[in-house]
Amino acid sequence: MNALLTAEGLHKAYGPTFALAGADLQLYAGEILSVMGPSGSGKSTLLHCAAGLTTPDQGRVAYLGRVLSELDDVRRSALRRREFGFVFQFGQLVPELTALENVALPLRLDGVRRKPAEQRAAALLERLHLSDKAKARPGELSGGQQQRVAVARALVTEPKVIFADEPTGALDSVSGEQVMDLLTGAARRSGAAVVLVTHDARIAAYADRGIVVRDGRTPARAGIR
């Protein structure tokens, strides 16, 4: 089976600090992959590089054979819009738009008319038990509700890959579990692959497979010599 997304030998430095120093990542269609590691080890940077949000200094990221760093901003944006979905710890919702409009946003940016876009958004909100909050602004939602809206937005374009960076980082274990159940459930149903960055093993346990980032590297396991 061919990988959906491959990242090889990624290096990334911010000034003198190395965030990535040779990290690899392979993501297969439909799988849920956890990325674990200590704080500051480079998990987020790896995810950003894999999603084309950051360009690595070295190494390449290929999505279905397309090298992300060779795509221009317009194509990368289109990729973000159609093929990728994002759930971050916070801050990814537009505070001025209602929950419904936030969920419909990627569709609208992709040229879908308002009516059908919002219908699809409403259906997703329903699935995430948020129908009664469709008209609320992110500021009026609890952290867990905001994350569920974010999940709905990540799913609305039926993406191939969902990138989630500490999606439950700010939530208690019950709401976190709820968000994870909804996220992984929906992803499995639609066949989307998920890159799940977390340092919480219980969250990582939702994945099918896991990798560990240490000091910017994703070392293969050494034997007990």
């Binding site: 950003h48 949000l53 950051t54 901003d73 317009v74 990368r76 944006s77 289109a78 973000r80 819009r81 159609r82 990728f84 994002f86 916070f90 801050g91 990814q92 919702l93 537009v94 505070p95 001025e96 738009l97 409009e101 946003l105 990627p106 609208r108 940016l109 992709d110 040229g111 008319r113 308002r114 500021g139 937005r153 374009t157």
Partner: protein
């Protein structure tokens, strides 16, 4: 295409959904745009105003170069009388038709009968207003109707058309015969320099508006940038993001256009009541030229877009967030000095050369000087902040912020500085004018003069004196002036003045005078060739005298004769001028100017009255306009400042909340924020006063006003600006501090 509409719709949607802050941002920007639109639309109407006015002036023109040759027929006799009422020009047109088919001037329905007149609405108002009896002295006619717009230059023009049968006796002298009105256009065509000045004026007016607009559009920019980053994460590329941002700014732009058009209509409807530089316009004249109106719309939309894009300059909006390409603050001085140095160079001729200087260039220089303040302010602020690096925590916080980001701290302040500099300049000029309201060429000159009669007999001259002296406080002397000709070339080489001792005393300094004396200035020949082929002998034993006042400069040689010394032959010579010179004693021209003109008109409507001192406070209207304008501009800028302070507090509310949480007292936070607002202003105001003083000096030099500065007018605008800042800062800070210092702010929004 639909995609573009979606983006625009999304952008506009965002303009409406920012909550209270979003709304106030949209509203403020709309007000700024509205003011700009009004100015631009008024500017766009200037060509039509000038054209309409010119067309009306042309159509009533009485100029006829062939007046002598024209035989009587279907013709009308006309004479124009240029007078004034309270320092405003008063145009009189005397008419007498020579046939029932005589041409009627525009604006009146029929010829006024003998002793009747049609008056302009403004003159009718003056005739009903205070001092009307005095004014009536100039207008010995009965008003039978009003002149309609077609016959007037503008609604505020003082004008009358009067019928006078005795014009028949004046043909060729004062009156001319006319077969048609408006034969020869007399309005001066507007030249390029008029439009140049207009362009500069509009630019100057637009500058504070643009600065305000910039402040208003940047209000909440940080929140906007974060929002755009979130949209970018959802899959918008950077061009789309920019388009959305521009679309967002279109909402205030469009609202402003609508509001501005409303303001324009309002301004237009009151236009008829306002007169500037003695020019007034009918509301109907204020029509924007369609091309320019379209340009206005384009300019406003473009301005909003450009301001938005300019605000996004140096900011990279990435899906992961907003990166300020920390515009490395290069406090380079040299390019900031270009404008002021250029400005100084352009105004320098005023100080260095004694010859004529080009008004346009000097004006450009002054504008450059005032504009040059803008880039200098950000340079000054880190300097000021560096004065004291130590100090309490509050100052440490403030000075760090000021040094790191002087641009952000100054964007609202530059407007105040420019405004204050301009007001300081003009105010000091007006103050200087107030010190010496006298605008005579020379202090020894009389206050007023009347010329126009040709009867030079001593009796007639004495009669003139007594007639004018019926006005309280007026001392009148009359002299007759004859030209001495060069026998070979026939050109004038000097003058003979005839008058009693009092009259001669007004124009010359003599060592005593009695009737029968003769005085000479320079060395006139023994025989004096005069006009009408007469020659008179210089009387015996002339004594030397010196001409005084502005005469002294013009005349080479002169002979002053008292009546008893006048040779009989002189009575056969036509005098060049018979001049009655008036001195005011204990009264002002404002009080008596009208009486003098009235008395003169009573003697002969064609007497020419010149008053050398102001008959009214010419600058009153300017001062009002300036004060009004300054107030509006300062208010506008104050509003911008308010937004700015509020915005910066809002942006840093988490930081402030954290500071409060670790125990910073409310006073520390208030003092620190206040210092950040006040320091740039104080620095800027210093600059403003300096620039204002320079420009004021230039203006005084140009108008030949002795240069003087009094602290009042200089410091009042400064105090106003300062009060504004402190008021705004306090108004925002005090209530905000309570909210902000609660640790509530730490909550993620």
């Amino acid at each position: 295409m639909r995609q573009l509409l979606t983006e625009i719709g999304l952008g506009m949607r965002l303009a409406f959904t920012g909550g209270r802050r979003g709304w106030s941002r949209t509203l403020m920007s709309a007000v700024g745009v509205a003011l700009g639109t009004t100015v631009l639309l008024l500017g766009a109407s200037v060509p039509s105003m000038l054209a309409d006015r010119g067309a009306r002036l042309d159509s009533r023109s009485v100029f006829n170069p062939q007046q002598q040759e024209l035989p009587p027929g279907d013709t009308v006799l006309v004479a124009e009388i240029d007078s004034a009422w309270q320092d405003v020009d008063l145009l009189g047109v005397l008419l007498w038709p020579e046939s029932p088919a005589a041409p009627l001037p525009p604006g009146i329905p029929a010829f006024p009968g003998d002793g009747e007149m049609y008056v302009s609405p403004a003159l009718a108002g003056a005739l009903a207003g205070p001092g009307a009896e005095v004014l009536r002295g100039q207008l010995p006619y009965r008003a039978v109707g009003t002149i309609t717009a077609a016959g007037l230059a503008g609604p505020q023009e003082y004008a009358y058309y009067a019928g006078r049968a005795d014009l028949t006796e004046r043909v060729g002298v004062h009156a001319s015969r006319l077969a048609r009105f408006g034969d020869i256009p007399e309005a001066e065509p507007a030249d390029t320099s008029t439009y140049l000045i207009l362009a500069v004026l509009i630019t100057t007016l637009l500058l504070p508006v643009a600065i305000f607009l910039g402040a208003a559009l940047r209000f909440g920019a940080d929140a906007r940038d974060r929002r755009l980053a979130a949209i970018r994460l959802a899959g918008a590329d950077s061009r789309v993001t920019r388009r959305i941002a521009v679309a967002e700014s279109l909402v205030p732009a469009i609202a402003g256009l609508i509001l501005g058009s409303g303001l324009f209509l309002l301004a237009r409807s009151v236009a008829g009541q306002i007169s500037l530089f003695e020019i007034s316009v009918f509301p109907a004249d204020v029509r924007p030229v369609p091309l320019f109106a379209a340009l206005t719309v384009l300019i406003v939309l473009a301005l909003a877009a450009v301001m938005t894009l300019h605000g996004l300059r140096g900011v990279t909006i990435e899906p992961l967030g907003v990166f300020r390409r920390s515009l490395v603050w290069r406090g380079r001085l040299w390019w900031r000095l270009i404008l002021p140095v250029l400005g100084l160079a352009l105004v320098s001729p005023v100080f260095l050369s004694s010859g004529r200087v080009s008004q346009e260039i000097v004006m450009l220089g002054m504008i450059l000087l005032i504009l040059g303040v803008v880039p200098l302010v950000p340079y000054l602020i880190p300097l000021v902040a560096r004065i004291s690096p130590g100090g309490p925590v509050s100052w440490q916080l403030a000075s760090r912020q000021l040094r790191q980001n002087p641009l952000a701290s100054t964007r609202a302040v530059t407007g105040i500085v420019v405004g204050v500099a301009g007001v300081v300049a003009l105010n000091s000029v007006f103050a200087a004018i107030n010190v010496r309201p006298d605008v005579r060429d020379h202090p020894a000159d009389p206050d007023a003069s009347i010329i126009g009669t040709t009867d030079a007999t001593p009796a007639a001259m004495a009669r003139l004196n007594t007639t004018f002296q019926t006005i309280a406080g007026v001392r009148a002397t009359t002299d007759a002036e004859y030209m001495i000709l060069d026998p070979t070339t026939g050109w004038g080489i000097g003058n003979v003045y005839v008058g009693d001792c009092a009259a001669l005393d007004v124009i010359a300094d003599m060592d005593g005078c009695a009737d029968g004396d003769t005085f000479t200035v320079g060395t006139p020949p023994k025989k004096l060739p005069l006009e009408n082929d007469e020659t008179i002998n210089l009387p015996k034993k002339p004594r030397p005298a010196v001409l005084t006042g502005s005469f002294a400069q013009n005349i080479g040689t002169a002979v002053l004769l008292t009546p008893a010394a006048t040779p009989a032959a002189l009575s056969r010579v036509t005098p060049g001028f018979v001049t009655t010179r008036l001195r005011l004693d204990g009264v002002t021209a404002t009080e008596t100017g009208g009486n003098i003109r009235g008395v003169a008109a009573g003697i002969d409507p064609f007497l020419m009255v010149t008053v050398f001192v102001p008959e009214g406070d010419k600058f009153a209207v300017f001062r009002t306009a300036l004060n009004l304008g300054a107030t509006v501009i300062l208010l506008l800028i104050g509003l911008g400042l308010l937004l700015d302070v509020a915005d910066r507090l809002h942006d840093r509310r988490r930081l402030i909340g954290a500071l409060a949480a670790i125990g910073a007292s409310r006073t520390t936070i208030i003092v620190s924020s206040a210092a950040q607002a006040v320091v740039p202003v104080v620095a800027g105001l210093f600059l403003a006063v300096g620039t204002g003083a320079i420009v004021g000096t230039v203006l005084m030099r140009m108008d030949d006003i002795p240069i003087s500065f009094s602290p009042g007018p200089l410091l009042t605008p400064v105090a106003g600006g300062l009060a504004l800042i402190i008021g705004c800062t306090v108004a925002v800070l005090l209530p905000a501090a309570r909210r902000l210092t609660s640790t509530e702010q730490l909550r993620q929004e």
